[in-house]
């Protein structure tokens, strides 16, 4: 009888499920797995310097490729370090499978060294967690984990494998699941007939609406329906508003694109939503940052919610019609029912509102360049232009720069704008950019981070160098945790409590890692440095020291409705 270890079974199962890259960090309880991995050259292991980095890298890989990302960690602290990364993936619906080592079964529950109930810890931030108790269960559990990660609304799944189960020998051909019944969960709860009936109603509403808008989220990216969205918008002459996570679902330069809605959305997007008589939400979860005060959102509109996740319906916002299905299915049903429309009057109204987040800033005249201290938005605008010009992937961290990049981003292909939208996890960008670059090796990847977030995960510079990843890293350094400072400025009387932040000399730091690095602090240095940086083959780091107290506008104050947005700093009040 040929025997095989549980760890070998796991490596085989990962290969069979299509995993190509594992982002991980070894340790005691996962040693048998790593020993088996030694023989599987088709499974590329990327040694991240922190397990949170591994989880974010798996997330970035998944977002950029559409394939499930995989991260690996040992028990105890290794596993708990994954939690933020799993939570970020959970909030944004990103398929990730996390494989963790657990102490051997006899040690579970004994406060054994590096023991943590990671299954319990991760319950709120995963779609599901498996504790593998029998070695023969490993193939099916991993198969199930991959299936679950992409089914319905995608998300992370954890597979916890005790060390003795990894090391156990089993007949090579044995693979049975001890569970008695395989559930079929997370399927849409509407029948085909119900979906068809709802779609008929939607088509009727669309034909009757005078001021309709499409509100688009990441579901369009996950379902691969950006093409159908474009067709729908063009066919029915519909304005398209893209959430932070849906920015890459529709070209920013399209005349029907109104930009991002919500707290830092454009006038055109927010006022259109407030004035609309029909809002079609496509794969968007009506997040609180998007809708502002719920009872004042789109007060005159019927709301239609298309989502694959039945639990998203009416979670934050009423839905006059809900279509619970994969957008690939529901849009396919809707498109033939949608006729051409003339929305001239609605467009005349929409064009009264500013499309640009910062309409006051004129681009420099040809042949001229700006001079003086570098502004953050100005810097990010130039980076955004580079991103669009080179069909690159943009990965932003969390904070002011994230909003500026979202406002300034031009046309990018689907799966080309990655950010931690729901969780808002600082430290996301560098490891996620690493994962994206490994998943899309032929495309440039720009990481844009603030000085606060960058310092949360800069240890991954070593991973970038070790793997030879040509990341273009931009650090916007204003010496503050900028978004928090902005709130303190506006709502807490400029009492900057705990938000001033210093950091290392990033040029010296970059050089210590062998990364070509530049520091700029003036506008006139911007374009030449960006051009210089893009010539390099390997990773580069550009440290942009910007004016300290620049704020993100427009802004909808917390608790206000979207039409209470302000574009002038003086008008913001508590």
């Amino acid at each position: 009888m040929a025997t095989i270890t549980g760890a070998d079974l796991a490596c085989r199962a990962l290969s069979r499920e299509g995993a190509q890259v594992l982002f991980g960090h070894p340790g005691g309880a996962i040693l048998p797995f790593y020993d088996a991995l030694y023989n599987y050259s088709a499974l590329r292991h990327v040694l991240c310097r922190h397990e949170q980095g591994a989880a974010h890298a798996a997330d970035g890989y998944a977002r950029a490729t559409g394939r499930t990302g995989v991260c690996v960690a040992t028990s105890g602290p290794g596993a708990t370090n994954l939690v933020t990364g799993l939570a970020a993936a959970f909030m944004d619906g990103v398929p990730v499978v996390a494989v963790t080592g657990q102490v051997a079964r006899p040690g579970i529950g004994t406060f054994a060294f590096q023991e943590t109930d990671i299954l319990g810890v991760t319950i709120p931030v995963t779609k599901h967690g498996f504790l593998v108790q029998e070695v023969s269960d490993i193939p099916e559990v991993l198969s199930e984990a991959f299936r679950l990660a992409v089914s319905g609304r995608p998300g992370p799944v954890l597979v916890d494998i005790p060390k003795d189960v990894q090391a156990a020998l089993v007949d090579e051909k044995t693979s049975s699941l001890s569970r008695t019944r395989r559930p079929v969960p997370m399927e849409p709860l509407q029948s085909t007939q119900e979906i068809e009936a709802a779609i008929q109603q939607v088509a009727k509403l669309l034909s009757e609406a005078e001021r309709p808008v499409l509100l688009v989220g990441r579901g369009v990216i996950s379902s691969g329906t950006a093409g159908k969205l474009s067709y729908l918008a063009e066919r029915n002459d519909l304005p398209v508003i893209t959430s932070l996570l849906g920015l890459d679902a529709f070209p920013a330069s399209d005349p029907r694109a109104l930009g991002m809605p919500g707290m830092h959305g454009t006038e055109r997007a927010n006022y259109s939503l407030q004035d609309a008589d029909l809002v079609l939400g496509l794969g968007v979860r009506f997040d609180d940052r998007v809708i502002g005060r719920p009872d004042g959102f789109a007060p005159n509109a019927r709301i239609v919610h298309f989502d694959i996740d039945a639990t998203a319906i009416e979670r934050t916002m009423r839905a006059d019609i809900a279509v619970v299905a994969d957008l690939a299915v529901s849009l396919k049903m809707l498109l033939p029912l949608v006729s051409k429309a003339d929305r001239t009057a609605w467009w005349e109204r929409i064009r009264e509102w500013n499309r640009e987040a910062d309409p006051t800033q004129e681009p420099p005249r040809a042949g001229y360049r700006r001079m003086g201290p570098l502004g953050a938005r100005e810097a990010i605008r130039s980076v955004a232009r580079k991103i669009s010009e080179s069909n690159a992937i943009a990965v932003s961290d969390v904070g002011q720069h994230q909003m500026w990049l979202a406002q300034e981003l031009g046309d990018v292909a689907p799966r080309s704008h990655l950010t931690s939208g729901g969780l808002g996890a600082m430290g996301y960008a560098l490891p996620a950019g690493l994962g994206a670059a490994i998943g899309q090796p032929d495309r440039p990847v720009w990481v844009v981070a603030g000085d606060g977030g960058f310092q949360m995960s800069l240890q991954e510079l070593a991973t970038v160098v070790q793997e030879g990843i040509p990341l273009r890293i931009v650090v916007i350094d204003n010496g503050y945790l900028g978004m928090v400072r902005q709130w303190q400025e506006r709502f807490y009387g400029k009492r900057y409590s705990g938000t001033q932040i210093s950091g290392p000399d990033l040029v010296a730091l970059g050089k210590a890692y062998g990364i070509p690095s530049w520091r700029i602090d003036r506008s006139e240095q911007l374009d030449s440095t960006l051009s210089l940086a893009t010539i390099e083959d390997g990773p580069v780091l550009i440290w942009m020291q910007v004016r300290q107290e620049e704020n993100v506008y427009p802004m909808v104050p917390s608790g206000a409705t979207l039409d209470e947005m302000v574009t002038e700093p003086e008008r913001v009040s508590g």
């Binding site: 319905g152 569970r179 019944r181 559930p183 969960p185 997370m186 639990t311 009416e314």
Partner: protein, 157 residues
């Protein structure tokens, strides 16, 4: 008052009940009572009775259904509710059967010298226990929680 009752068939796996209860807590769903019993090998039936709900009932059902461990969710129909049963084991001061009135004896199934089993509808059990309590006859009670007969009573979400 909303009296949503859901019966979830739950695969009895590591962490399954924790996941279910954790979900209800995270969604701030007002669980008024919960009972569970083995339906068949490795399958638990969990009866969830909710109090005043701010959340639409369909979404509550959808939330419960979304869990991987949950095989099905049903909302009991009237026939099912009528057939609901509960078991109570009551510790008493000695053998009281001869002195018990109709309200108690109609649910009395079996007794020993100092304990008795009551089974019937939850309402009948409530009534019997209230009487025994009033008489000062009870020294302890264990209740199983309500049990519904097996489906099919598919939920209409």
């Amino acid at each position: 008052m909303s009296q949503l009752v859901l019966v979830a068939s739950l695969q009895d796996e590591t962490g399954a009940l924790e996941r279910l209860l954790g979900l209800l807590r995270r969604r701030v769903l007002p669980l008024e009572s919960l009972s569970l019993y083995q339906a068949e090998n490795n399958i638990l039936e969990v009866v969830l009775r909710f109090g005043d709900l701010d959340t639409p009932e369909d979404r509550v059902a959808a939330e419960v259904s979304s869990l991987y461990d949950v095989l099905s969710v049903r909302r009991p129909d009237q026939a099912s509710c009528d057939a609901t049963r509960e078991l109570a084991v009551v510790k008493t001061h000695g053998n009281l059967e001869p002195v018990l009135p109709e309200t108690v004896s109609d649910v009395l199934q079996r007794h020993s010298s100092d304990s008795m089993e009551l089974s019937g509808t939850p309402h009948a059990i409530d009534r019997a226990l209230a009487y025994l309590q009033e008489q000062g006859l009870i020294t302890g009670v264990s209740r199983s929680g309500e049990m519904f007969p097996p489906g099919p009573h598919e939920i209409d979400t």
